[in-house]
């Protein structure tokens, strides 16, 4: 599954190594925030959108991603225009389009295994300073894996509380959800141990 949870990455960008995509994202992000020229920023925004087009993101997932992008950027541009100058609003808007579109492209083109490997390799030099490299990588992967599960559990708990007449009671849903999630976390930790996961194992 891609990091965006949209199935196995299928676009042309999926053939690019994850490390290259992440570095490109970092360079793009840094560049857009160091540059004020609207022409350059517009070019960056177009590059981000092109990358998104090459990511293979299609259908409902693409619509959700693009609509979210438009709403978020729109709000920022509007607020900036009201509190600052129109030129600044435009520049901020173009920066956000560039970075967010490219970030979406990267997350929909990268598998969780590739990201885990990248984190392991990228952070490996810092392990000697005590950074828990493998744990960080696994934490990211588990987040991707269990977000849909936690959402499903939230819906189950909410349904159960509705059946008891507890509507519009966030606490009545949140507490059982948290308890269940923490209980399951113990089993997940046991499963990791059972499958010989070793936090101290050297990165390959």
């Amino acid at each position: 599954m891609s990091l965006l949870g949209t199935g196995r990455p299928a676009g042309p960008l999926a053939r690019v190594p994850a490390a290259v995509l992440v570095v490109a994202l970092a360079v793009l992000g840094l560049t857009t925030y160091l540059v004020d020229d609207v022409g350059v920023l517009a070019g960056s925004a177009l590059a981000g959108l092109l990358a998104l087009g090459l990511s293979g993101l299609r259908g409902r997932a693409a619509v959700r991603a693009v609509v979210g992008l438009i709403i978020f950027v729109g709000v920022v541009v509007l607020v900036t225009a009201l509190t600052d100058t129109a030129a600044h609003a435009l520049a901020h808007g173009l920066r956000l389009v560039a970075v967010l579109a490219f970030a979406l492209a990267v997350t929909s083109s990268t598998t969780s295994t590739a990201l885990l490997d990248l984190i392991d390799r990228g952070l490996a030099p810092f392990a000697r300073f005590g950074l828990p490299v493998r744990r960080i990588g696994l934490a990211v992967t588990l987040t991707v894996r269990f977000v849909p599960e936690i959402r499903a559990r939230y819906l189950e708990v909410r349904e159960a509380q509705y059946a008891r007449g507890l509507h519009n009671r966030p606490v009545a849903v949140l507490i059982p959800l948290l308890v269940r999630t923490f209980t399951d976390a113990e089993d997940i930790a046991a499963a990791l141990d059972a499958r010989c996961w070793d936090a101290d194992q050297a990165s390959r």
């Binding site: 599954m1 199935g7 599960e149 499963a191 010989c196």
Partner: protein, 234 residues
């Protein structure tokens, strides 16, 4: 023609084992050797069955006493024991840790340091064995309950354990998947130790232990122990 001799395995030794958790005695006075090919564990909810089997691969350590597998003490050699003793949990959702089916099956062998080039080959073989080959790139959370449990089993067997411990593997499954998983378990060459409330599934086992209030209260051939259990609580 005489029946073939029952298979025996290096097996487990539990000596004077007790487990206390949060000031409560969960298991006490456990002294057993587990060498038979197929061993079942039965008992009421809260009797200590799951605690007992979690001792076997060092997921849990005894408060007192020792647990060994093939002479390896789970306290000192937990990693070596876990490489040899696979564990399938009741809820496969908690055992599947990677987002994609193929990634999850690969997780265990990657932890064992298998050369990268070999991983995809082993993964494909493991998935094909359980008829999951077409699901390699599917998101794990979209699988049915039966598929998830088979995926969990595939993820364990790819590590080539010598023993597989099952903790109520069919509790969340429908009848069809109970039978399917049961057939897969019956076909395993590894020693199998299984906690189950499905007494019919244990009928052909070599030995069954009944746990009650943290003690092994009955231990013997499957028919006799199960009959005694039914008589006690049926």
């Amino acid at each position: 023609m005489s029946d073939p001799a029952p298979r025996a395995h290096p097996g487990f030794g539990l000596r004077a084992v007790s487990v206390r958790r949060e000031q409560r005695t969960v298991l006490t006075g456990i002294d057993v050797e587990l060498t038979e090919h197929r061993i079942g564990v039965i008992g009421l909810n809260g009797s200590g069955k799951s605690t007992l089997v979690r001792l076997l691969n060092g997921l849990l350590l005894p408060t007192t006493g020792t647990v060994t597998w093939n002479g390896l003490d789970t306290r000192r050699e937990a990693k070596r024991v876990r490489r040899a003793v696979g564990f399938v949990f009741q809820n496969p959702d908690n055992q599947i840790v990677m987002p994609l089916v193929g990634e999850d099956v690969a997780f265990g062998v990657r932890n064992l340091g298998l050369p990268r080039a070999e991983v995809p080959v082993r993964v494909r073989a493991a998935l094909d064995r359980f008829g999951l080959g077409d699901l390699h790139d599917r998101e794990a959370h979209t699988l049915s309950g039966g598929e998830k449990q088979l995926l969990a089993l595939a993820g364990v067997l790819i590590m080539e354990p010598e023993v597989v411990v099952f903790d109520e593997p069919t509790t969340l499954l429908d009848l069809r998947n109970v039978r399917r998983l049961g057939a897969e378990i019956a076909a395993l060459d590894q020693q199998v130790i299984m906690v189950s409330h499905d007494l019919d599934a244990l009928a052909g086992f070599d030995r069954v232990l009944r746990v009650e209030d943290g003690r092994v209260v009955d231990d013997g051939p499957a028919d006799a122990v199960i009959t005694g259990y039914r008589r006690r609580w049926g």
